[in-house]
């Protein structure tokens, strides 16, 4: 169904809920009455003709008062149906001084964290939300940073907030620990903090776990330890200036965040990308995907006690880094894509080098497989552990290998094609329950490992077929007209989406990065009861969550 048909359908069912159909936007949106939001959502999810079981993104935009129009907060909901392959954007307008909306957690559990983020950063209150508290900022933070009129404080707990003040005050010579442990209510169960500095949590993530002996009663993720405010910074530095920041959103898959951001701006400004540049993008991206999946599978094995496989992958990753350095000059933070192309060409020498490397790599791949995939301990630690069924996977917004591990064949590269992926021959990998049931931790691991092979296939074809030509269209100053856009790419951690609101200036009015890890974290609390503590480690590792992607 097209967006206007969906709107008609909603109007027919709930005539007084729809306020306006905003068809002028790149992603047409339906504005609904705040009081009828939950009803509309439930209808769109359950109606046989729409069936939108996947809430892609929930976020807010702060609109300052302009002339006659009073200020408002807009809450934006991106819905999608895997079954029907259509989507729609819902929007509600809230009073800026006292923004209150009904929670949609009851419709899609994944909304939980998105709404908490809107509460934290924009100050929107959600009635009926099960656990409404700050998520990114410390609990005693004052103000809502994504509000347009937000002023950052001079100090927080005596710490200066700018470098000059640090230098004036003088560097610390003696450090004291001022940390005060919070008193937790006694519940008869052991309560532990796992993190934020813990070798198995993949970056700075904290898990508040409540255990009965070795068995978890629940594990509550506590994130925000790496919230760097990239979205706010993007409002200050402009479109091109944001490109290096997108590297840091997902540093293991920087090409994908680059690519997604470039796609968003290209769509806003209608920029064409030359064919050779598309090939360059694909080659760089797929190399990056291999590198990222290597870390994911290697780190998972390491978390479960096998250190050697990790070292093998680190060694192979060095070689990818060398190639990346030839391609874009950086080993980690690539900053390679530009609006309308890429920053520099991949020359023939590099392409030959990639080919040679692929020849070397294919046996390595098998060696890794032999080294660990058949290991009895490894299998037992993963098989039948933390099983996610497809319905849960969709409801909790899992994407990428985590979703495919549950048996749902959905890959943005194939199903919502972008760039030139549909010209290559490759397969979408899904979990098959090799050693257990479909959707267990082993399947997620297995998906990643097999996806590496698909990337190798794509790379071979791309190196073969890369045409001659330009790698970048000349673009004028980036200054898109007022609009809104959401673009997505298939990153190593799944759908990596970029929601950008432009207002006719050379800086984005609001940007929101939708990342796979953020939504993947929401399922942990749901899955944890009954797991062993060691299984939690396997679960986190198999979901391949990455702290900066969660916190941004």
């Amino acid at each position: 169904m097209t967006e206007s048909e969906i709107c008609d359908r909603l109007k027919a069912a709930l005539p007084d809920a729809v306020e306006e159909f905003e068809s002028q936007l790149l992603d047409p949106a339906i504005r609904v009455k705040p009081a009828r939001l939950v009803e509309a959502c439930r209808f769109l999810r359950d109606d046989p003709s729409t069936r939108m079981h996947y809430l892609r993104l929930v976020t807010g935009v702060d609109r300052l008062p302009a002339g006659e129009t009073p200020g408002r907060i807009e809450m934006v909901y991106h819905l999608w149906s895997y079954e029907k392959r259509h989507g729609i954007v819902l929007r509600v307008h809230l009073d800026r001084d006292n923004p209150v909306a009904d929670t949609v957690c009851g419709v899609w559990p994944v909304a939980n964290w998105g709404e908490r983020e809107a509460f934290d950063l924009l100050g929107v209150t959600f009635t009926g939300h099960p656990d409404l508290k700050r998520i990114m900022m410390p609990v005693d933070w004052v103000g809502h940073p994504l509000r347009k009129d937000y002023q950052r404080p001079d100090r927080y707990h005596g710490l200066p907030t700018n470098r000059t003040a640090v230098l004036e005050q003088g560097r610390v010579q003696v450090a004291t620990a001022e940390h005060v442990a919070k008193a937790e209510p006694v519940s008869g169960y052991m309560q532990l903090n796992m993190g934020p500095h813990h070798p198995a949590t993949h970056g700075v993530i904290n898990f508040l776990i409540e255990t009965d002996g070795e068995v978890l009663r629940r594990a509550i993720p506590d994130v925000g330890y790496l919230h760097r405010g990239i979205e706010k910074i993007s409002e200050m530095v402009g479109y091109l200036g944001t490109m290096p920041y997108t590297d840091r959103v997902d540093y293991l898959g920087a090409m994908f965040t680059n690519h997604g951001w470039a796609l968003a701006v290209e769509k806003l400004c209608n920029i064409e990308v030359p064919r050779r540049a598309e090939f360059c993008r694909v080659i760089a991206s797929e190399l990056n995907r291999i590198a990222s999946h290597q870390i994911a599978t290697g780190a998972l094995a390491m978390d479960l006690g096998a250190f050697t496989p990790f070292l093998h992958w680190i060694r192979e990753r060095e070689k990818i880094n060398d190639i990346m350095e030839r391609i874009c000059g950086a080993r980690l933070t690539y900053n390679y894509m530009r609006f309308g192309g890429v920053s520099r060409d991949i020359d023939q020498v590099t392409i030959d080098e990639i080919r040679r490397w692929l020849d070397h790599y294919e046996p390595m791949m098998l060696e890794f497989d032999r080294l660990i995939s058949g290991n009895e301990i490894f299998i037992r630690r993963l098989a039948n552990v933390a099983v996610i069924d497809p319905d849960d996977a969709i409801a909790y917004g899992l994407v990428g290998p985590n979703l495919r591990g549950s048996g749902l064949a959905w890959d943005v590269r194939r199903d919502e094609p972008y760039s030139i992926y549909n010209e290559f021959e490759w397969d979408v990998i899904t979990g098959t329950g090799v050693h257990g049931v479909v959707g267990d931790a082993f399947d997620r691991y297995d998906c990643r490992l097999r996806e590496i092979r698909e990337s190798v296939r794509i790379l071979r074809q791309a190196c073969e077929r890369i045409p001659e030509g330009e790698v970048r269209t000349k673009t004028a100053r980036i200054k898109p007209a007022a609009n809104e856009v959401y673009t997505r790419v298939e990153g190593p951690r799944g759908e990596c989406g970029f929601f950008v609101v432009s207002d006719g200036t050379d800086k984005p009015y609001r940007s929101r990065f939708r990342t796979g890890s953020f939504t993947a974290m929401t399922i942990i609390e749901h899955l944890s009861p009954g797991l062993m503590i060691a299984d939690l480690v396997a679960l986190i590792g198999s979901l391949d969550v990455l702290a900066p992607e969660i916190d941004r």
Binding site: L159, P199, G203, I233, R315
Partner: protein, 175 residues
């Protein structure tokens, strides 16, 4: 007879006179202690952000920090060196202090990457501490975003130099 053994000034003397073994080694306490310290820099695996990946690569086969006796530890109790690899946010600041306090003296801090040095790319941000030296005393500043493994390697060598010039008890006094 004096000679230089792994940077340690030693003089060998045979107690019975002559050159035959067994012999005793005499050196200064400072040199000996520093020699121990500099050749077993155990660093805390404290990878908060992107720089942590380069830290990981540095520990990997190509750069191989193990050569210098530097191996990673997962707990601050066993670490001599805190490598702050990445951005520190206000939410994290207290935890960094806590980690530092848990390390046994003598302890050192290496600020790896622009974020840890001064806030780097994230100076305009509302949530990032502009430099980890506002929280803990820093011994080595390593620039780069992220620094290459070679650079981190160099930083460890510089730290060894720093350790060489120390009086064995002096560092304890300050902490």
């Amino acid at each position: 007879m004096t000679e230089n053994l792994s940077g340690l000034e030693v003089s060998r003397q045979c107690p019975t006179g002559g050159d035959a073994a067994p012999f005793v080694v005499t050196t200064r306490v400072d040199d000996l202690v520093n020699w121990f310290r500099e050749s077993s820099i155990w660093y805390l695996l404290f990878a908060t952000a992107c720089c942590g990946i380069e830290l990981m690569q540095t520990g990997g086969p190509r750069t191989d920090l193990d050569r210098f006796g530097a191996v990673f530890r997962s707990t601050p109790r066993q670490s001599d060196l805190l490598i702050v690899a990445g951005t520190i946010t206000y939410k994290m600041a207290d935890r960094v202090r806590l980690l530092y306090a848990q390390m046994a003296s003598p302890k050192y801090v290496l600020a790896m990457g622009s974020c840890a040095n001064c806030g780097g790319l994230f100076q305009p941000s509302y949530s990032v501490v502009p430099g980890v030296d506002a929280i803990v005393p820093v011994d080595i500043y390593l620039p780069g975003c992220p620094p290459r493994p070679e650079a981190l390697n160099e930083a460890i060598l510089r730290l060894q130099d720093l350790m060489k010039g120390e009086h064995w008890a002096s560092r304890r006094k300050h902490q």
